[in-house]
Amino acid sequence: MPLAPCLGLLLAAVPARATDLAIVHATVLPVSGPAIEDGTVLVTDGRIEAVGAGLPVPEGTPVVVDASGKFLTPGLIDLHSHMGVYSWPGLEAHSDGNEMIHPITPHVRAEDAVRVADPAFSRARAGGVTSVLVLPGSGNLMGGQAAPLKLRPSRTLAGMRFEGAPRAIKMACGENPKRVYKADEFGPMTRMGNLAWMRGAFQSALDYRVARQQSSEPVAEDAMMETLLDVLDGEIRVHVHCYRHDDIEGILRVMDEFDVQVTAFHHALEAYKVRDLIAAHGAGIATWPDWWGFKVEAYDAIPQNMALVKEAGAPVALHSDSANTVQRLYTEAAKAVGYGMDEAQALESITSDPARLLGVDHRVGAIQAGYDADLALFSKHPFDVTTLVERTWIDGELVFDRSSEGTPDAHP
């Protein structure tokens, strides 16, 4: 067992008792602070016990990983995933993300559709991803509740839940919802309809509450209305699929009317045009570094979007929205650097910023004492395109090891 010389400042109390796992000699990119050369990370009971330069490893630690020349980051976090609800292989039968029977379906839950055996999960783990928010699609204005997951290898959905993560809901505006219901009797078929429907839904929930409280006749409990009331009461985080800047402004108008806090605008390709409004509301964005042009509301995207919004003071999560891209969030973040973003901020966009928007930034998204031991070990700097994730840990458990598995394939 390598005994690192105890040099420099100890950043945390070193435990006398044995830890479960020690990663030594790594260049640690803790996100919560500057890079640590010759860094040691000690893990006990699924939590990070200590992190620092050259910390001694307590005797009896059963697993000591020599990470000389390698880079250790917090496990990466994707705030916008459809893994499980659009499982591989892509088939009609696996299309479970859009309950497009009605534009308002806040009561449906993504976790009820997640195919736990989706092989994409293992590929995401091989990309150092440890937490994701699985969202319903954007066909509906209120598409349903999202599922915060930890990507533990599991036979059960319960085994993948991110316990303690706040509830979240997916909403949408713009082109998608107005297209889906265009032919229906009640629409929406325009942006006017989109926002009118949203206002109507919130108002119905308020009316329902009054009716439940005041009506002499019993009013049956309604899952849709109860969910909306939880949104209005701030118990569910609101994530809104929204591209165009005036759609962002419009959503803020509606949400302000009902005193609802938006947590994040997703995709948000024109966020840069109203970044002041987003920051003032206290919202963040989840976006790609350089996707554009696939539809009209994506035509004005610019690759400096992430940097400009971050500069305005809003958290910026780099999301994948793709079971392919999720495997290389670090390369996507490197693209953001190429387009002018600060390196530290780009790293935050795949760790601490999505953690904050997910409401779990006190537990994940950084390497610091007390945090969940969700970690990714890279062969080279994560922003080097030729890097590979060699190992991934979730809650201190090794969930991916390239030396034994290689890149996972689709076989069971």
Partner: protein, 439 residues
């Protein structure tokens, strides 16, 4: 944040005078079309670049080197070239060619009114991508400033025989200025092409209809030049060899049977690749394979056939039954087996990601030099375009300046030249950035 390095375009004398006078440059010009299409120079000029980290088309790096350009061609390369534009150690990289794209065929993917990617029927050998190509489409500039100087534009590959691909420069105001060669190949899809009228309904139908297509096409004619390099053989056959009565579709198919026009065959699953190779072989056609997500499973067959393969760099996902065994090291395995590879984005707005997508494959075992070679000359080799992408005397003067290794996403492309002409680095996106960098 950093601001993107701005490129000073070479303006016309009239524009310079207008700028010096503080007047709008384009509106004052009596020739307002000058400068459209991304060429900053109105014509090729002679110039020299020195003190560069020079990358050649084999992936060899030469520090402190330069190039001398006369007109459209490179005339000298090496450390002895001095003077001219001092790169200060920045990289000088051969222009990359996207070996299969939909560039310029759609302004906005989801808006049908802006999409000109194919005609309706499933089989249209006489449909030409160039007839849908808009050289001023916004994605072209966005692609150019990422170092992609040329692109093989294909009609949508969802159809059985979508038509003819063209090789274009990613700059040019007019079609004449933009299009380097058309047709460069006839596109065919060996899979389950379900798009288009009268499309086959299964793989069985695909193979049946492709065999029938070739059987019914006119027999090959005697060619004027039977030997020699491909580009010489591309000359038209002798006059009077009976082509007058042929339909445009038959004429194209006849060229294909004469092997004067290549067939770009899309196939992803291993058995589709095997079927494509068999069809090309029994029909005696000159083929290039496209896709080959499961190529690694039949790498020996591809190597034996000696046909080049255009890979979608990130078509490495086992995400459907169309290629359930796709994997990241596909390119590395094919390269090791001796298969000649090129990279095709198969995209339009996303085509700019090609260089970094290729970089990802280096992480998975493809030699860095092989990735560079595939990007620089993979398409030229596959389709037989002399001088394209070659950083050597006689090569076309198409290259770009990069702040570092061009496969690395953190490297920035700061200047681009195509055919000896400096290009503008302005795009719709840079204009939006300038407009909104302060609110």
């Amino acid at each position: 944040m950093r601001t993107p390095e701005s490129h000073a375009p070479r303006w016309t004398r009239r524009q310079l005078l207008a700028a010096a006078a503080g007047l709008p440059t384009l509106s004052l010009a009596s020739e307002p079309w000058v400068g459209l299409g991304g060429f900053a120079d109105t014509a090729p000029t002679d110039f020299t670049i020195s003190n560069a980290t020079l990358l050649d088309h084999h992936g060899r790096v030469m520090r402190g080197a330069g190039v001398r350009v006369e007109g459209t061609r490179i005339v000298e390369v090496g450390p002895q070239v001095g003077g001219g534009l001092d790169f200060g150690g920045d990289w000088l990289v051969p222009g990359f060619t996207d070996a299969s794209s939909r560039l310029g065929l759609a302004e906005i993917g989801a808006e049908k009114s802006t999409v000109d990617q194919s005609d309706k029927p499933a089989i249209t050998p006489d449909a030409r991508a160039v007839d849908g190509y808009n050289p001023l489409s916004a994605p072209i500039a966005v692609t150019r400033v990422a170092g992609i100087t040329h692109s093989v534009v294909c009609p949508t590959m969802g159809r059985l025989v979508p038509g003819q691909a063209a090789l274009v420069r990613t700059a040019g105001r007019t079609l004449d200025e933009a299009v380097l060669r058309t047709p460069i190949a006839l596109c065919v899809s060996m899979a389950r092409p379900t798009e288009g009228d009268k499309s086959p309904s299964s793989r069985i139908g695909t193979s049946r209809m492709l065999r029938e297509l070739i059987d019914k096409a006119p027999a090959p004619r005697a060619l004027k030049v039977e030997d020699g390099p491909r580009w010489k053989r591309d000359k038209s056959p002798e006059k009077g060899s009976g082509s007058k009565d042929r339909s445009p579709a038959d004429k194209v198919l006849q060229q294909v049977k004469e092997r004067s026009l290549k067939v770009l065959v899309r196939a992803e699953r291993a058995d589709d690749i095997e079927r494509a190779l068999a069809w090309l072989d029994e029909s005696k056609l000159d083929g290039v394979l496209l896709g080959c997500a499961e190529g690694w499973m039949v790498a020996d067959l591809l190597a034996d056939a000696g046909l080049p393969v255009v890979l979608g760099p990130l078509m490495v996902q086992p995400d459907s039954f169309a290629h359930p065994n796709a994997r990241y090291d596909n390119a590395a395995i094919l390269h090791d087996a001796g298969v000649q590879i090129a990279f095709g984005s198969r995209g339009n707005h996303f085509a700019r990601g090609l260089r970094t997508d290729a970089g990802v494959l280096v992480a998975h075992g493809l030699p860095w030099e092989a990735a560079i070679e595939a990007l620089a000359v993979g398409a030229a080799n596959a389709f037989g375009i002399p001088g394209l992408g070659r950083m050597e005397p006689g090569g076309r003067a198409s290259f770009f300046r990069s702040t570092g290794d061009p496969l690395q996403p953190r490297s920035r492309v700061t200047s681009v030249w195509i055919g000896g002409r400096a290009c503008s680095m302005e795009t719709r996106q840079s204009e939006l950035y300038e407009r909104f960098k302060t609110l």
